[in-house]
Amino acid sequence: MTAETQRDKPGKTDETMKRYLETGNFAVAQAAVMAGCRAFCGYPITPATEIAEAMSKLLPRVGGYYVQAEDETAAMHLAIGASLGGMKSMTATSGPGFILYADPYGWAIGCEVPLVVLNAQRVGPVSGITGAPGQGEFYLSRYVTQGGNFETIVLAPGTAQEAFALTIEAFYLSERFRTPVTILADQLITDGWEDLSIPETEEEKRLMGLKFFERRAHPGPKFYPPTDEIDVPPVVLGMGAGALCSDWTPTEEGYDIETVEAQHKHAYRLIYKIRNHKDIIMRSETLFLDEEPDLVVVAYGTPSRVVKTAVKRAHERGQSIGMIRPISLWPFPEELFKSRATYLSVELNYDGQMVREIQRAAPCGSEVHFFGKCGELPTVSELQEVFDKLLKGEPLQRRGWETEAW
């Protein structure tokens, strides 16, 4: 029996592939172009600037376009425009820009525009610290715009190699689900350097488990079917009947309407096309869960790497411990939280975000705890102290401003 399982993990590499020492930003740009992205509209911001820089070099060579906008709101509107024109498009930013995407993001969800959005989380609120990692946009990436009545798809890479694979996956899912997909990274993934394998041949791409989906155009006239079906081609303006793409409730033909019935049908589609096909999106990595451990540590993104080292070492010492790393963050993988246990959420924020979702998902009688760092990773040794306390049933104590308050 294997203690370590990873469901559909993208990013398996082969020894023979071309290897680099590069940043996550480089990985994302290479992947985007490989996935068929031909328009990048953005506004540079640390720690995602190098994606814009790389795209400005790569895209003109493949007949694509790099557009530098006057701000992030304009950038995302332009990316939507490129997608509505029939191109696969992308934008990338950090927290201060991601919040400005709120308005156009809603438009893209409502009009079902395929698009890839990357957020390299840094320390907040507002401008915070530019060159340090944070995880403050867990919920913002779910409730990314106003009004409700939608689900979002959010993927969280833990390494540069995974950022490469998940960028390709994000384009794949955005086409199939006809919606924007957010890659929720952090500063250490985008700016950190790592060994990275980039596939060149079709065989290498297949070996890495990469999936691609070509852009199609909806022929009309029923552009907005009131169903949960996926693989419905997106609206491409000028193709078919030239459907409208406004921010109002659409009729099935894409005309504006303001009736409760039409809104219900549209909302049903925006919610259930994602909820009812969650299995296509779900990705996670778990450690030792089949042993029904007393303590289950949960983390995503870069801190999950330190957690993984700490959990493996604690397990070697004979502690009853396991780990869950959600790779797809939204829809939240609540089915992983089946057993009654003590859960510990390790996050790069002090307010505690994912911990609330774990509390919602964990079965009755479970305990849910939080350990937050921000701007820097936790260390293996301090995680070990927290594990020891929780496994002895002792309360976690305040360490300066690091507290369990959430």
């Binding site: 020894e15 290897r19 680099y20 020492l21 610290i129 530019t130 060159g131 340090a132 250490l188 700016d191 950190g192 350097w193 790592e194 060994d195 870069t302 790497r305 330190v306 993984k308 080292t309 700490a310 493996k312 990773l377 260390t379 293996v380 040794s381």
Partner: protein
């Protein structure tokens, strides 16, 4: 073989600390190893020290943090003071006495002076090649690194002054022999 090798380099901004990490990382990739390299910048750079944390391993690397460095390259007194407490018994501190003036007598680990700035100035009339000297010492002292591949990586990352860099590397390599 050790599960992982951790190399920490720290000094002031402008000393090429990130470049040092990048060259060691590049060598790791060329040797077919897994590599992570974190660089600390931003406020830390103005506040006192720049830091590169390199981890090398035959297996995929989970934690990218140097919590128990096998080798700590200390290029400023502040960096030395900040990170010396991390050193395990088996670790080595390589320090340039031009920048680290006082060393602690209470550490269990090996501490080796490499007067890189001075040797570079003496041999090449400029401190520019101090880092290649340091890399020569690192290549000799850190078991996992292959000498020839480190040289290749220096030449790949620093496109100019190939002869000087090669010679500086050898001086550093011989110095710690």
């Amino acid at each position: 073989m050790k599960e992982r090798t951790e190399i920490l380099a720290s000094g002031f901004g402008g000393q090429g600390v990130v470049r040092l990490g990048q060259i060691i990382g590049e060598a790791g990739v060329r040797q077919g190893l897994h590599v992570t390299m974190l660089k600390s910048h931003g406020t830390e750079m103005r506040g006192g020290y720049v830091r590169s944390q390199v981890v090398l391993s035959k297996d995929a690397i989970d934690s990218p943090i140097c919590e128990s460095p096998d080798c700590f390259i200390a290029l400023s007194g502040a960096a030395y003071g900040q990170f010396r407490h991390l050193m395990p018994k088996y670790g080595i501190i390589l320090y340039d006495p031009a920048f680290v003036e006082e060393i602690s007598q209470s550490l269990d680990c090996l501490q080796k002076a490499i007067p890189a700035k001075e040797l570079s100035s003496k041999n090449f009339g400029s401190p520019l090649f101090a880092n290649s000297l340091v890399l020569g010492a690192v290549a000799r002292l850190v078991g996992i690194l292959d000498k020839d591949i480190v040289v290749e990586s220096i030449l790949r990352v620093m496109p100019k002054f190939h002869d000087e860099n090669r010679r500086a590397f050898q001086i550093g390599y011989d110095y710690v022999g």
